[in-house]
Amino acid sequence: MKSICKNIRRQILHGAKESGHGHIPTCFSIVEILWAVYQVLRYDPHNPLWPERDLFILSKGHGALAHYCVLAQLGYFDPGKITTMGLFESDLGCHADRFKVPGIEASTGSLGHGIGLAVGMALALKIEESDRRVVTLIGDGEANEGSVWEALLVASNLQLPNMTVIYDDNRSHSRGLQIVDPAEKLLAFGCDVTEVDGHDTEALIEANKYRGERVHAIIAHTRKGYGCPTFMENPYEWHRRSPNENEYRSLLEELDAETV
């Protein structure tokens, strides 16, 4: 694990402990994905609305804590704000608000919305003949939503080579509606498909550089809670739970031991 990603996981743990909020296992599954995206996209943390920026939409909005930690790491805002997450007057909700958090392009939370917005944004950039691009991150649990597949059909029909859909295959769907062989499905829906180890930052960076003739889907094979065996073994117990002080220290030790 890259030290930067380990550090982001430490911030996630700390933010969850202090705030009492956050979906830690799902946040841990997307750290490398988020970090890799921002190594490829064009952005300016000192000018978040820079007109030439690329656009990233976190469609699986409950990964907001991980997104906050990455944005803070990139310099969008003071990392000290993260511990305020979920407080009444905090800028940081458990799902992000684009009017309150620099770097957030769309307020998400209800699943199956961000990907449709991303299609519209990619279409806008195509009409403008802009070389800017749009990346959206969806979850495999989120892919239970029909709107995800409807948006993919529309995106394929619109032929949007400037759009990348990253599919976080962290097995969230496994206890409910199963999505069998997502690569085959995404291919059938008209995407170019790349499969990568979702915790291999370099592979994710390379995948994000791809530019073909149609929508690019990256299936990132990940594990919920990656980095701490406690989370990986009990992802549902920890789905929406934050650690107390003792648990926090123990989880930090697990993370530092990097036993995965």
Binding site: H113, G116, M121, A124, A151
Partner: protein, 290 residues
């Protein structure tokens, strides 16, 4: 009214290259001119109402002026959360223009009847809700609201009225103001029936082409009269009821699906919304007052 919709959009497009048309496989042929002239801003995205709204919001986020157009119940009731979150909560804006509302598709039955659209959309913060009753009203209101970066709903009708009414967004009109004890209120194409029904009756008549924001000042002016909302949809009565000190009775939609087919006139008659039914109800109210 759809023809007017196209003509207004074609005219606006002469000066505005940010207009994008998104169709749900409806009215596509009608807009052939637009397609030929602006092929990269014309998209028939098929029967995918949720995505039509999300894509419209995404286009608006990047500074375009999208018109999402398809059949009323599907684009409003099915896509309510997309309108709520993608257009309203995110404040990306965009225009939704529906057809077939109320009972324009009477013969298709309850799946195609749409009388909740105005009522549910007016609950969304930031949403503008417009029910033009005539082609003139559509033309004026579409031009004034389409590019204001605010989510706007315009509901077309296949049966517009032809009464020449002053048009200004957010302003109601007192078509009869005789200091009467009873005030009738209506909106949209039904004005044709309502005006005919009460032409010689001693009532005030208020007309609204904008449901949200409702013209509270106009309503408040008549607060000491007995008020009847006559409408072929939910939404106007609820808007009127939110004005302080107002008590209102309504005549129109009931708490039941309409299980019949036929024509718009057939269904209006069954609900007492034909000219005779409306007149009868108002006369009953006048007698009640006496």
């Amino acid at each position: 009214m759809r023809k007017q919709f196209k003509e207004t959009v074609m005219d606006l497009s002469l000066r505005d290259n940010r207009i994008v048309m998104i169709f749900g496989d409806v009215s596509v042929y009608l807009f052939n001119d637009f397609k030929e002239k602006y092929p990269n801003r014309f998209y028939n995205m098929g029967i995918s109402e949720n995505t039509l709204i999300s894509v419209g919001a995404g286009l608006a986020a990047q500074g375009f002026h999208p018109f999402v157009h398809t059949i009323a119940p599907f684009i409003t009731e099915r896509s309510y959360e997309q309108i709520k979150l993608d257009m309203c909560y995110n404040r990306f804006g965009g225009n939704i223009v529906s057809c077939g509302a109320s009972f324009d598709y009477a013969w298709d039955g309850a799946t195609h009847h749409a009388y909740t659209d105005l009522a549910i959309l007016r609950l969304l913060p930031g949403m503008e809700v417009i029910q033009p009753g005539s082609t003139k009203e559509l033309n004026t209101l579409l031009r004034s609201q389409y590019n204001n970066e605010t989510p706007t709903y315009l509901r077309l009708s296949d049966h517009p009225h032809t009464i020449d009414v002053p048009v200004e967004f957010g302003r109601g009109v007192a078509l009869k103001d005789g200091g009467c004890d009873v005030t009738v209120m209506t909106a949209g194409p039904l004005l044709g029936n309502v005006l005919e029904a009460c032409r010689d009756l001693p009532v005030n008549l208020l007309y609204f082409h904008t449901i949200k924001p409702i013209d509270t000042g106009l309503i408040h002016r008549f607060r000491h009269t007995r008020m009847i909302v006559v409408h072929d949809a939910f939404g106007l009565k609820e808007a009127v009821c939110e004005v302080p000190e107002i008590r209102v009775i309504s005549h129109g939609i009931r708490d039941a699906f309409c299980g019949c087919y036929g024509t718009l006139h057939d269904i209006r008659r069954s609900l007492g919304l034909d000219t005779e039914g409306i007149r009868e109800r108002i006369i009953r109210e006048l007698h009640c007052r006496q």
